[in-house]
């Protein structure tokens, strides 16, 4: 039942039939005999929602526990009894207005979760060790001025070693592992200088401690590992957030399809398991789950997600229908086609894959810098060692200490810490505003965009028809038509019913599928419906989205509908233009409809009746002229373009495949999310550049000092901690940034 509700983001039919079995299918029996169901819950905003769901489920006598995780928006439900009870419980949650989507927890990537836990433990150990060793170092530094006894100093060194060495062995493993696997592949990565630096520093310090020398560098080694782990952890978190956003979309899109078997019984099957040739039942208002040909039934389907066409298309037996279209009229029986057949979907997937291959070549700025970084650092440390030892004739210990100082002082804190910190803060900020970032490099690519290309239906517009010019219509006729329309779930009828404030339902209205509504009155039949059914000639009026009202003895009346733009669409377009962005509109819809929207929103560059292949060609043309395109689209026909664009965004009402192809997905009616995204991305890019710039300046100052052997452990610790805190502090400014530039 929840599946049926989940399958209907728009034209929600009032009474959709329930393809059962979805929730029961995912329920698992645990060792202690209780049943467990894991589900994602859409629509949770606050603790109140959590309380509502938990209370409603807790009232059921069989429920052992119901716990909603507000951070991950997931529900863990345990009860005693049959698996089928899951359906009733799921319906309960659906009744509260939440979308419940069961999933199999074992299928979600658990490996990364384990890696995150491991990293967090390493971080805790390193933090503990860094704080304690630093305390002892403070005593030693103070003792140098105050005249500390050598015996006390040695003891403090030993205590430092006692804490630092085990902690390093535990906490530095991520770096050592990564460095080792890089070396085995005969390549260098950022972890190689880190692993070498930390190992040498620890070994050298132990050597010095044993020989009762003045200096030990345990504090440097431990705090280096701590700051790097912090950066690594934040990086994993940012990527984890992006991944779980993508996972959530994929899971939410798992839909159930009702299949009729030879005996005539119906079964609910996940869409990807429908065998070719099966007969699929599509209820009125339901989204069609598979590509196929209609075998029985006449209806109208809303294909706006597939082609961008805003007028519903009539289908009859023999016509092809595509997954993603919504059945508006009566129930249809559809034979599923084999996957990989020459369907529209297969073509779109092929175009998308070709485009994605091109895009995967993008390399994040931090990675580009770090490729250059490791060899340079190693070379510099080696030159320092050789210079001191061979040219200046220094003892090898002193030469090695200087070389280590170079390795430590060039620690990639700014790269390893500042970039992830900016990413995490930007991702969190966007998530609170209902925008999910799906790829790690999306922010960088968004910041580079200079042209924004929009799709029309469902992107610039809401994808919902609204009655045009309601004030000019005779109120009595409108009341009559709206009263009749209240009997139908057809989107145009619903729009008509909404347009009239007071219009009681007119009983005895008969709905004729694919035609319209009929009302028998003593004076004759009143018809409200399509042009052909009402007997209006093709050349009268403009066509497009319309309903006709024919009353005996009166002139036929036309109700025209328009797909209303999102409330803030015009403001967003104006703001983009003001900031020097090129704006274009490409749509698969008819020319007059596209022209009207383009005119209304002030977009000069527009194209109508564009095929998916043409859309990618259009983007390729822009790319050849050196433009970096941000594509905003929602339809199946936009998916290849979304994949081909430099960066792409789609609304959460978009077709599954488009959400998968897009780099970011935004929820809600406001198009302003696009501005929010661009603004945050640009702010994040600014901060990343500042941080990398600061790191370069810092290295220009610190490296010569280290090469000359002037860097004492005290200076190294101050420089490293100071620079790390500075870049994180700089990144935090993003969180407090005020509203964007609309």
């Amino acid at each position: 039942m929840a599946g049926a509700v989940a399958a209907l983001p728009r034209p929600a039919a009032p009474a959709a039939p329930a393809p059962a079995g979805d929730a029961a299918f995912y329920a698992r029996r645990e060792a202690d005999g209780a049943m467990v169901l894991h589900a994602m819950v859409e629509g949770i905003h606050c603790g109140g929602c959590v309380a509502k769901i938990e209370r409603a489920l807790g009232q059921h006598p069989a429920v052992v526990s119901a716990r909603v995780n507000l951070s991950t928006r997931r529900l863990a439900l345990r009860w005693n009894g049959a698996a089928e009870l899951a359906e009733r419980l799921a319906a309960k949650v659906a009744g509260l207005g939440f979308k419940l989507v069961p999933y199999d927890p074992t299928r979600l990537a658990a490996a990364d979760k384990a890696a995150e836990g491991k990293l967090l433990r390493a971080l805790a150990v390193a933090g503990f060790a860094a704080a304690n060793v630093m305390l002892m170092s403070l005593a030693i530094w103070a003792g140098r001025v105050e005249g500390m006894e050598p015996a006390t100093r040695d003891m403090l060194h030993w205590f430092s070693a006692l804490i630092a060495l085990p902690a390093l062995i535990y906490a530095a493993r991520p770096f050592v592992h990564s460095a080792w696997s890089a070396l085995k592949r005969r390549s260098l990565n950022m972890d190689v200088p880190i692993a070498v630096g930390v190992t040498l520093t620890a070994g050298m310090s132990l050597f010095e401690t044993i020989h009762g020398a003045d200096h030990a560098y345990f504090d440097s080694a431990v705090s280096l590992v701590f700051f790097l782990l912090l950066g690594r952890y934040l990086d994993l978190r940012a990527r984890g957030q992006a991944r779980s956003a993508a996972e959530r979309l994929l899971t939410l899109n798992a839909r159930a399809v009702t299949v009729v078997d030879v005996a005539g019984a119906t079964h609910t099957v996940p869409a990807e398991r429908v065998a070719p040739g099966s007969i699929v039942l599509v209820a009125p208002g339901e989204r069609i789950g598979v590509d196929g040909a209609v075998v029985e039934g006449r209806s109208e389907v809303d294909t706006s997600l597939i082609t961008g066409e805003s007028v519903p298309a009539a289908v009859k037996p023999g016509d092809l229908v595509y997954a993603g279209a919504v059945n508006l009229g009566t129930a249809l029986r559809v034979t599923a086609r084999a996957a990989g057949e020459n369907t529209l979907l297969a073509e779109i997937i092929r175009l998308m894959e070709a485009a994605e291959q091109k895009k995967s070549r993008y390399i994040a700025l931090a990675d580009r810098v770090s490729r250059l970084y490791a060899p340079v650092v190693h070379l510099m440390a080696l030159v320092t060692f050789a210079g001191w030892w061979l040219l200046l004739g220094a003892p090898w210990q002193a030469s090695l200490v200087n070389a280590i100082a170079v390795l430590i002082v060039t620690c990639p804190c700014a790269l390893g810490l500042a970039v992830p910190a900016v990413q995490v803060i930007a991702t969190g900020r966007l998530m609170r505003r209902g925008i999910l970032l799906k790829t790690g490099t999306a922010l960088e690519r968004l910041a580079a965009a200079d042209t924004v290309v929009f799709d029309k239906t469902g992107t610039l517009t809401l994808g919902k028809p609204v009655l045009a010019g309601a004030n000019a219509i005779d109120p009595e006729a409108l009341r009559l038509a709206a009263g009749m329309a209240r009997n139908s779930a057809h989107p145009l009828a619903r729009a008509l019913a909404q347009a009239a404030a007071v219009a009681p339902v007119i009983e005895d209205t008969l709905e004729i599928p694919g035609c319209g509504l009929s009302l028998l009155r003593p004076e004759g039949e009143i018809r409200l419906g399509s042009r052909a059914w009402c007997g209006i000639a093709e050349d009268e009026g403009e066509g497009g989205m319309e309903l006709w009202l024919v009353r005996p003895g009166k002139a036929p009346l036309r109700f025209a509908f328009a797909d209303a733009p999102r409330p803030d669409a015009a403001a967003v377009i104006a703001a983009l233009k003001r900031h020097g962005y090129g704006v274009a509109l490409i749509s698969g819809d008819r020319t007059p409809a596209v022209a009207a929207v383009a005119d209304q929103l002030g977009i000069a560059d527009w194209q109508a009746r564009v095929t998916p292949a043409d859309k990618t060609a259009f983007l390729a043309g822009l790319a050849r002229r050196g433009k970096k395109v941000l594509m905003v689209g929602d339809g199946l026909n936009d998916a290849p373009a979304l994949a081909a664009a430099h960066v792409s965004v789609s609304p959460s009402s978009a077709a599954d495949i488009s959400q998968t192809a897009a780099d970011a997905v935004f929820q809600g009616e406001r198009l302003g999310a696009v501005i929010e995204l661009i603004d945050t991305a640009r702010a994040a890019r600014g901060l990343v550049r500042q941080n990398i710039g600061a790191a370069i300046v810092y290295n220009f100052v610190a490296v010569p000092v280290a090469v000359l052997g002037l860097l004492t452990p005290f200076l190294a610790a101050i420089a490293m901690s100071g620079s790390s805190l500075a870049v994180v502090g700089n990144a935090l400014r993003l969180a407090r940034r005020r509203a964007s530039w609309t």
Partner: protein, 54 residues
């Protein structure tokens, strides 16, 4: 100053207890739902018993 010979180990021991406490809380899911935990304090528990934990 000889007192630091045993004061330092005591300090480290206290720190280690804190670290162990952190590991314990991590292992027992105290950080699984930071957003939810902040809101749960506002629930009216008297209407129904809070859901039993595993």
């Amino acid at each position: 100053m000889d007192v630091i010979v045993y004061l330092i180990p005591i300090a480290i021991l206290l720190g280690t207890i804190g670290l162990a406490a952190f590991f314990w809380s991590l292992k027992h899911g105290q950080f699984d739902d930071p957003d939810g935990a902040a809101q749960r304090i506002l629930f009216d528990d008297d209407e129904e018993p809070s859901p039993p934990r595993k």
